[in-house]
Amino acid sequence: MTTTVSPRTTAPAGGKLPPAGGGSRRRPLLPERVRRGGLPYLLLLPALLLEVLIHLAPMAVGVWMSFRELTQFFINNWSAAPFAGLDNFRVAVDVNAPVGEALLNSFLVTCAFTILSVGASWLIGTAAAILMQDTFRGRGLLRATFLIPYALPVYAAVITWSFMLQRDNGLVNHVIVDQLGLTDDRPFWLLGGNSFVALLVVATWKSWPFAFLIVTAGLQSIPQESYEAAAIDGAGMWRRVRHITLPSLRPVNQVLVLVLFLWTFNDFNTPYVLFSEAAPEAADLVSIHIYQSSFATWNFGSGSAMSVLLLLFLLLVTAVYLLLTNRRRES
């Protein structure tokens, strides 16, 4: 098995601390016994408790719900909801029937959206961070500017975009049609096929500053000497980026890309605010789809089954991703 952290870590095995340096240590903070084996567990405890309470227990309830016929008839007394076996799942994966077909469509749309949005956010964020690594006049101001999309409340940012994307009165069509004259027909951005593009642009606008932030922080831990050594070797700017910057960012990138992926895949706020209650087919992200299949139609069993399927898919992707990235890093 591979490890999940950088192999540079050379922690002592067996849960023991390195031998105390000399006999000079002053009053130990913790009893010897705890420090020897229990300290890491103690450090993890708060995180673990919260994860169990807020994530794992509700998740288990969600899994339980997916095997129940939890409709409006049972929601008031839902421990009495009849056992549905695999029925909820069967309906969800039957791609020949409308429910399964719609879910499949929504899943594929989400995959395409996630790959494009994460790719664009990462690329833009990394490029901007690298370009702004050296000091220049106005760098601080520019950096703050780039963080604005991230600082606006999601609702405010997305409602502004929906305002700009209106067909008749929006800025986007004003520029495309009235000012540049690119087309005569005013295209719809919030309906039909274009809604995918609209969603992609809005989501990328909103998430690239995050990639920028994380990569900027990551760049700080690259020792200056590496660059200096490379410069002495005569390596140009671009080669330094390729051979030093990007490889050093790998541990940060590994987490960043994965988290952006999970986030984008499960994003609810952006499509919900952009399209309100019913997203067009071309932009029907899975999170919205599940919301429709549980909250709007009050069938929580079916919605849970879809979520569990999604969870399994994401687990698989994450496992493969971690295996691949770790292997590459180790080789």
């Binding site: 008031n76 009495a80 309906l191």
Partner: protein, 435 residues
């Protein structure tokens, strides 16, 4: 070793979940009078904004407290949150004592069993069922069952038309039949202006209109036993007629397909469209600078031109109902509060403030409701309005069919042909989703 640990962790999580579900469904508890001095009340957003609602309701609640000694905790819940808050309250049993619900949710919420059923006995305690409009009570729960709520504010649809634009086009009377409507609409369309405006992406508005049109074609979306019949020929015709105002007749601007935030009201107020079907729209027109004299209000057209019952209905019964959570800890207080809110006096005050119509017949005599616009709405409610299907699957219906109509408008706006077959196909898919 590691495996055993993981198994232990899994066990811990499942048992936690079991503990939670075990005591879930606290909503099953019966009502009591353990807490006779306070009530929690969730009001829906009826006024211009949340603060306006509070300003309207607070003095009335103080009046109630003066009379009964019961303090009412008021929370005005925005529409975007209301249904989710109610669902969470229903599932957990942790909710208000009294709450407003959209009347189309009545049967769905009734099916959960979380709301107090309005038996004859309960109705007696608030002055009797006969005080309320028949149509309004019919929209408070499934037929044949005790209503799940009591009507509070009522509304119906009317045809709003721009007087100046009608005069300019030489039209003397508002259209009474759909044929006239389309004909007039075509005369009013041109030069960037359109005869009619609608909200193509607003799911519930689509449902309201398509439902009435379907009834006019002798169709319905549910049969007697409550089974969905979305592909009933009358239902298909109704939906198609609604889409055709844009697709076939061309009296609706294509841009209306994406409207969902009352943009059509602004278009009307600013003279871009000449006609609109809406519930009391006066205050919104005013906020866009249109005065009361600039527009006329007429009954919504019907096939024959004379609104009535059967295929001559011309509005759905719109409105807000007042419900009591079955597990309230102040049952007597809650009933007293409902009695207070539905008293003639309060009905007049509140409905006048919100521009709606009293659900209590005797309160309608108040001069505040004797305006030309409200008289049209009142007539429709009394004679030609029909409640939306009162079935537990109503919310699935609104979501599935409303979305189908929205998608059809998108097709029409993109210039593609909308045939009867296409409409039937989309409705078939919608029906299979409700399943």
């Amino acid at each position: 070793m590691r495996r055993r640990r993981a198994a232990a962790a899994a066990l811990l999580v499942t048992s936690l979940a079991a503990a939670v579900t075990g005591c879930g469904g606290g909503g099953a508890a019966q009502g009591s009078n353990d807490n006779p001095t306070t009530l929690t009340y969730w009001a829906s957003n009826q006024g211009a904004d949340l603060e306006a609602d509070k300003a309207i309701l607070t003095p009335e609640l103080e009046k109630f407290e003066e009379r009964t000694g019961i303090h009412v905790e008021l929370e005005v819940v925005p529409w975007s949150d209301l249904l989710n808050r109610i669902l969470a309250a229903t599932a957990s049993g942790e909710g208000p004592d009294v709450l407003n619900i959209g009347n189309t949710w009545s049967a769905s919420l009734q099916a959960t069993g979380a709301l107090l059923p309005w038996t004859e006995e309960n109705f007696e305690r608030i002055g009797g069922r006969d005080r309320f409009l028949d149509a309004a009570v019919a929209s408070a729960g499934a037929p044949g069952q005790d209503p799940a709520a009591v009507p509070l504010y009522s509304l119906s649809y009317a045809l709003y038309y721009n007087k100046a634009m009608f005069e300019e086009a030489g039209i003397e009377q508002p259209p009474a039949t759909w044929d006239e409507f389309v004909e007039v609409g075509k005369r009013l369309t041109g030069d960037g202006r359109y005869g009619f405006g609608l909200e193509g992406s607003n799911l519930s508005n689509n449902i309201h209109q398509a439902y009435v049109l379907a009834r006019q074609h002798g169709g319905d979306f549910f049969d007697e036993s409550g089974e969905p019949t979305f592909t009933d020929p009358g239902a298909v015709e109704g939906v198609k007629q609604w889409i055709d105002f844009m697709a076939e007749d061309g009296i609706v601007a294509p841009g209306n397909a994406e409207y969902a935030q009352n943009q059509s009201l602004q278009d009307f107020a600013t003279g871009k469209t000449a006609m609109l079907l809406w519930q009391a729209a006066g205050t919104t027109f005013e906020s866009f600078g249109m005065s009361e004299d600039d527009y006329g209000v007429a009954p919504v057209p019907t096939p024959s031109g004379t609104p009535g019952q059967g295929t001559e209905v011309n509005s759905m019964v719109a409105g807000i109902n007042l419900a009591v959570f079955d597990n309230t800890d102040n049952l007597d207080g809650a009933l007293e509060f409902v009695e207070f809110m539905t008293s003639d006096e309060e009905q007049a005050v509140l409905n006048a403030a919100y521009g709606s119509i009293p659900a209590v017949e005797s309160a309608q005599d108040d001069p505040a409701f004797d305006t030309p616009a409200l008289n049209v709405l009142k007539d429709a409610l009394a004679t030609s309005a029909v409640p939306l299907p009162q079935v537990p699957e109503e919310s699935q219906f609104e979501t599935a069919v409303g979305t189908a109509i929205k998608d059809l408008f998108a097709e029409a706006a993109a210039g593609r042909e909308v045939t009867t077959e296409l409409v039937a196909e989309r409705l078939t898919e919608a029906q299979q989703q409700v399943g």
